[in-house]
Symmetry: C2
Subunit: 237 residues, 2 copies
DNA sequence: ATAATAGTGTCTGTGAGACATTATACC
DNA sequence: GGTATAATGTCTCACAGACACTATTAT
């Protein structure tokens, strides 16, 4: 056997949220070399006695002051030989979906933290291979909205159907029919549970409040209208 | 910053195939400590100048003599602090789907290699956390058959619809209606492409041969009949 | 002809997309 | 009443499931 080559292992976080109808990601400005001053995904080294998911939660808190609510899952690992100029680093990327956040606080290793619209990220060159990781995270989120109730992770504990629809529209960047959406969501068992209360709003009829249901997957997915696949010739009157 | 704790990084492989109508996995018998003599997933240490996917391909060849055809994708990473008694090891698990294989050859580090039916694996206690990794790989494969044409990875380059259906039935462990399946597969653009030739068989009408199409995802998934989700009350005449 | 496997056709209920109307609040 | 937002209803087509028949080979 070839022995045990030395590696460092990090976790990086794709933290997504919806703000003002736009899908956004949390970025930090690097305070140290390499890529000092560049924007990057939050993350850091895994500690010797720490599991990967625990490291992700810890780094999220340390670098941004966010207590992990919402959803956190492993995304993928990235370990190209020279992705970090210092040494051989394998990073285990995680995907976090959170309700709209208070402005993040720059942590120990970060010179700053900011929530940036996905559409605006391409203007910034992210450090390392973080552009690729971010793209993978966004695609994962978009895909998972189709067949899981994960969009609820972007919402506060109690939410309206219109708010949930706004999440889909923001993540997919597409308008959805409010009536069909309402029928689909309320008609899918386990997707949402009615709270019984209604919102108090400025204008218009108050909306019913819901909380998340017990389902973890959606039989009969919600399909993105203009999906990348071959068009099936469905009617478009 | 806390410095760079030393880790070892390995790749492990969940190699699935369909043999005699049963979903099977490739296991190796460990020839070295720890867990010497126990069955495990094939895998090994990532080399200093090697990307993760490259390591997976290399280990597959080294430990089993299999040249990677078919499909290979990253599954997930596992890094609990004491999952390997020797040292801190993070493993990046990969999922490989292959057509039925010639009997594997035990490689350098393995005392033996064997293709085992998934249903029979629970009788063997696998080394490390490999039972969990295997379960995750099987579930990934089962789920992906629904919304990708990945079942074709289990087939030789040219195959019949009945053979493809046998793959679904083996992986899901469920019978499928041959007529509805044929209609679905041939009616989904990009799923399969007709070769034009027909099989030469012992008995019965010869079957048309197909090869894989260009599609990578299936709009309108093939749903597992008795899925885990909430029943929708669909008619069952 | 018989057996065996391959492939096509029909019926029906459910679900999704397109679209209009009613309901409930505030001004 | 006017305005704004929430929620429900209707129609139609497509697709999936249940099911029966025809087609093509070998014996």
């Amino acid at each position: 056997m070839a022995g045990y080559p030395p590696f460092a292992v990090t976790v990086d976080l794709v933290v997504l949220t919806v703000r003002d109808g736009e899908l956004c990601v949390l970025l930090v400005r690097r305070g140290e070399a390499p890529y000092r001053g560049r924007w990057a995904l939050p993350g850091g080294f895994v500690r010797p006695d720490e599991d990967l998911a625990d490291a992700a939660v810890r780094e999220l808190g340390e670098e941004t002051g966010i207590a992990a609510a919402g959803h956190l899952e492993q995304l993928a690992s990235y370990g190209a030989p020279r992705r970090d100029p210092r040494m051989r680093v394998v990073t285990v990327a995680h995907l976090a979906l959170l309700p709209d956040l208070p402005p993040p606080v720059a942590g120990t290793d970060a010179a700053g933290a900011e929530i940036v619209r996905i559409a605006d990220v391409s203007a910034r060159k992210l450090a390392f291979d973080h552009s690729r990781i971010l793209a993978d995270g966004v695609e994962r989120a978009r895909a998972k909205l189709e067949y899981t109730p994960l969009a609820i992770a972007f919402c506060p504990p109690e939410f309206t159907i219109a708010e949930l629809r706004a999440v889909y529209e923001a993540v997919w960047g597409l308008p959805l029919d409010p009536r069909n959406f309402h029928r689909k969501v309320t008609g899918t068992p386990g997707f949402v549970e009615p709270v019984g209360e209604a919102t108090v709003r400025e204008r218009g009829r108050p909306a019913q409040l819901f909380r998340r249901g017990a389902a973890t997957v959606l039989r009969l997915p919600i399909l993105r209208p203009g999906d990348q696949g071959q068009e099936t010739g469905r009617q478009r009157r």
